[in-house]
Amino acid sequence: MNLFRSEEHLDRWLNQNAYEPGATITAGKLCDLAHAWWSDRLASDWRPHTRDENQAILERLGLTGKFWQLA
């Protein structure tokens, strides 16, 4: 789960490492995802997210399809 300077840099890295392309989002979307996923992590009343709660976070951000289906 890495940040790249651009799509061009990402494509070169994928090719050089023989990785199948996964999913790419903007840094702005990543900020939204990080806030939705982690913002309660230090709360004194924290409870673990259920799978469905986490899946709903992804879906609210438009991260849908087979790649984003949690186990």
């Binding site: 789960m1 300077r5 994928l14 900020c31 990080a34 982690w38 949690l70």
Partner: protein, 144 residues
């Protein structure tokens, strides 16, 4: 996850924030008693934290990393490592403050410096990539 395990987990996160690193097993045993070892293993099994594969030491309390990584985060006057770019943005989110992430492009090695201000990345020109599909993230969470 029982209430005792939740208290252990919350204590670990509190210490991680306070001292800027993961509490060691020896520290946790001193602070919480011998019951901390089975609690840590239950929290690991529940994916509430990640232990090192060969010992009862914390590797990850996501979004915080106990080990140095390419994602260094400064926030609230302190510094931590995130486990990945997602976690690096997650540290200011968890602290509810602005922050700064320092990393390097995995392709060319050029520094990537990003501020997070009011939940927005500055600059916002970079792209984030996930190689592993979500259904396999926990198969090898360190690689993921």
């Amino acid at each position: 996850m029982n209430e005792g395990d939740l208290r252990t987990r919350n204590h670990i996160y509190r210490r991680f924030v306070e001292v800027g690193r993961a509490p060691t097993f020896a520290e946790l045993r001193d602070e919480l008693g011998d019951e901390v070892e089975p609690a840590l293993r239950r929290l690991h099994d529940a994916h509430a934290l990640v232990l090192e594969p060969d010992r009862t030491e914390i590797r990850m309390a996501n979004p915080f990393s106990a080990a140095p990584t390419p994602y260094r985060v400064e926030a609230d006057g302190r510094a931590w490592y995130g486990n990945c770019a997602w976690d690096a943005f997650g540290i200011p989110a968890a602290l509810h403050v602005d922050g700064h992430t320092s990393s390097a492009c995995p392709d060319c090695g050029e520094a990537i410096e990003i501020d997070v201000r009011d939940r927005r990345p500055v600059p916002d020109e970079h792209v984030f990539h996930v190689v592993v599909p979500a259904s396999h993230w926990w198969d090898d969470i360190v690689f993921t």
